[in-house]
């Protein structure tokens, strides 16, 4: 690619221009949000009149915000924990021992992508807003539906790690060496797919923290999470809103950096060369 580039400086200028325009466009709303969060007054001028960190002091002394943050955190922790406890063994069992269910599982976990939040909310409200299961407006309905929403990410990360460490053969090796299936899973498989599990958790965290539609429609103000808090602030206090957004994005940045760190760990086991493997086991 470089040789071609050296020959055509015009092309290079063009590509640089395209990249700058696109990245600026993408970053601009976040940057002005940040600028707004540290401005004193910024109403009908091009630039803010002064700078201050008051919005952040106010935000972090606002009990309502802290509670909302805590609730988001609680929902995320419980959902991700339950998802890992249930899904990691499920994915492991299906991909290693019941391969005929694999296609089915793949389709099912992708369903959340095909169902917009607003559509999902309709059935959930219908089902869970009246007895016998009146959990609408509580943390439980959020945990229930977020579990479904993060399925694609949990599945993808776990499945890829299982594949890249060659889980099937590691299990066999451990079993031949005298470990039972559950011991082999805990001692050998789990430690090796840990980076993938961590990536899945981090991605799920960022999704749950950013989710608004279901949180607003299913529980709204009765269990106010960060995004719903932000929505309520939007009309009343621009400074708190912008500070909330920047805080939220700081969290996303951290999660993303961690994902890159763990996601880039090379799988340590080398894959076998292609010949020699004959029958499906």
């Amino acid at each position: 690619m470089h040789t071609a580039e050296k020959k055509k400086p015009a092309g290079r200028v063009w590509h640089l221009f395209v990249v700058i325009v696109i990245l600026t466009f993408l970053l601009l709303p976040l940057l002005v949000t940040f600028l707004f969060s540290i401005s004193t007054v910024w109403e009908n001028t091009i630039m803010p009149l002064g700078l201050t960190f008051d919005a952040y002091t106010n935000l972090f002394s606002d009990e309502r915000f802290l509670f909302a943050l805590g609730r988001s955190f609680l929902v995320a922790v419980i959902t991700v924990a339950l998802s890992l406890i249930i899904m990691v063994p499920t994915i492991f069992i299906v991909s290693l021992y019941i391969p005929r269910l694999e296609k089915w599982l793949q389709t099912v976990v992708l369903l959340p992508f095909a169902i917009p939040g607003v559509v999902a909310a309709v059935g959930l409200i219908k089902l869970y807003s009246s007895p016998p299961f009146a959990i609408s407006g509580t943390i439980w309905i959020l945990i229930g539906v977020y579990f479904i929403i993060i399925l694609p990410y949990v599945y993808q990360s776990t499945r890829n790690s299982l594949r890249s460490v060659n889980a099937e053969e590691l299990m066999e090796a451990a079993e031949v060496l005298g470990a039972g299936k559950s011991r082999a899973f805990i001692r050998v498989i789990l430690p090796n797919i840990m980076p993938g599990i961590i990536v899945a958790s981090l991605l799920s965290f960022s999704i749950i923290f950013g989710e608004f539609v279901l949180a607003n429609m299913l529980v709204g103000g009765s269990y106010e999470v960060v995004q719903v808090y932000l929505f309520h602030m939007l009309g009343t206090d621009g400074h708190l809103s912008s500070a909330t957004i920047v805080t939220f994005f700081a969290l996303i940045f951290i999660l993303f950096a961690l994902v890159l760190k763990f996601g880039n760990r090379k799988p340590q086991a080398k894959l076998p060369s292609d010949d020699g493997k004959e029958e499906p086991a």
Binding site: R183, S273, G276, E278
Partner: protein, 343 residues
């Protein structure tokens, strides 16, 4: 009575019969090889001995004990995989110690056994390395040590060398053989590489489509293939049917047999048309191609449309036999093997 006994074992995956009534026995301390192309059932048979797949019929016993229904962890067999299957989260020491830990041995016992094993496989000083910090050859030695450390009744090697490059493959092959002989370890080795099988084994079982085609020492298998299949698989044998030879300038073909096999190095090639030897088979042809394989020159000779491969040691003043040279091929009668036709 033999040490490992495999009786009438059959196995199908869906409708595909991978093992068909396979029976074989192995003596204690013997090194046998299951040889065949991929899909012949050799790996399935090995995995059945390890308990990694169920069998549909038959029985397997080791040292007089029927292990057919035991789960892998109770069989006490050792197994080395093609891709090593080392545990990436454990260092060399912990990988080797894993099996002993599973047996609940004390830390002290484990240490002394593992240390012995590490010196046996010559990896002293590398105990703390992780698998990804080792070369392929070193990884496979760790895998070998890991499987030997529990003193298994049988060692199973599933194409352990095929992921390595040629040079390391050869040296590790010798090392495996030496360790096996030192420990007198009963070993079943699976490979698709005939050269590997011929150099390392006490006995070879050549497999074809889920059945055993021929059993014998490397020498038996190489010099006296029992069937067309074995002859074609084992080397560069020239394999001809009687039909093919009809009407060609080949004289002295024996009356019996339908399919014949001749080793390329057993054929003598002459340029002078001397007397025909008593009891030999003689054919006239033309050299079409010469290639140098190290110390051997390989000639492709065309006998009126029938391709014949002839190997000769170089340096026999034959280098001048270029393409197009008319030659006479002489095959001693006892090198002209009549073999079983394979479907």
């Amino acid at each position: 009575m033999s040490f490992v006994h495999i009786r009438n074992v059959s196995k199908s995956f869906q409708d595909n019969k991978v093992l068909n009534q396979v029976s074989l026995s192995i003596e204690k301390g013997e090194f046998v090889t299951l040889l065949g192309p991929s899909g012949c059932g050799k790996s399935t048979l090995l995995r059945s001995v390890a308990g990694l797949n169920d069998i549909d019929e038959g029985s397997i016993s080791v040292g007089g004990m029927d292990i057919t229904h035991l789960p892998p962890k109770k069989r006490n067999v050792g197994m080395v995989f093609q891709s090593y299957a080392l545990f990436p989260n454990m260092n060399v020491y912990d990988n080797i110690a894993f099996g002993l830990k599973m047996d609940g041995l004390s830390k002290l016992d484990i240490r002394s056994i593992v240390d012995d094993m590490i010196s046996l496989i010559d990896l002293k000083g590398k105990e703390d390395r992780y698998p990804n910090q080792l070369s392929g050859g070193q990884q496979q030695r760790v895998a070998l040590a890991r499987s030997l450390v529990k003193k298994p009744t049988v060692l199973l090697l599933d194409e352990p060398l095929s992921a390595l490059d040629a040079k390391i493959r050869r040296s590790l092959r010798n090392e495996i053989r030496l360790i096996q002989q030192r420990l007198k370890m009963t070993t079943i080795f699976v490979t698709h590489d005939q050269e590997e099988a011929l150099t390392i084994s006490d006995r070879i079982f050549v497999m074809n489509q889920g059945e055993i085609e021929q059993v014998g020492s490397p020498n038996d298998i190489y010099t006296a293939p029992a069937s067309e299949y074995v002859a074609r698989f084992i080397g560069n044998y020239n394999v001809w049917s009687r039909q093919q030879l009809q009407g060609l300038p080949v004289r002295g073909v024996p009356e019996q047999g339908d399919v014949f096999a001749v080793r390329p190095e057993a054929i003598r090639m002459e340029t002078g048309y001397g007397d025909e030897i008593e009891g030999g088979i003689v054919a006239d042809g033309k050299v079409t191609m010469v290639s140098i394989l190290g110390n051997i020159l390989r000639f492709e000779v065309d006998v009126s449309g029938l391709p014949v491969t002839v190997d000769m040691l170089s340096g026999q003043s034959i280098e001048h036999l270029g393409s197009g040279t008319p030659v006479r091929l002489v095959i001693p009668r006892d090198e002209w093997k009549s073999i079983r036709k394979s479907s």
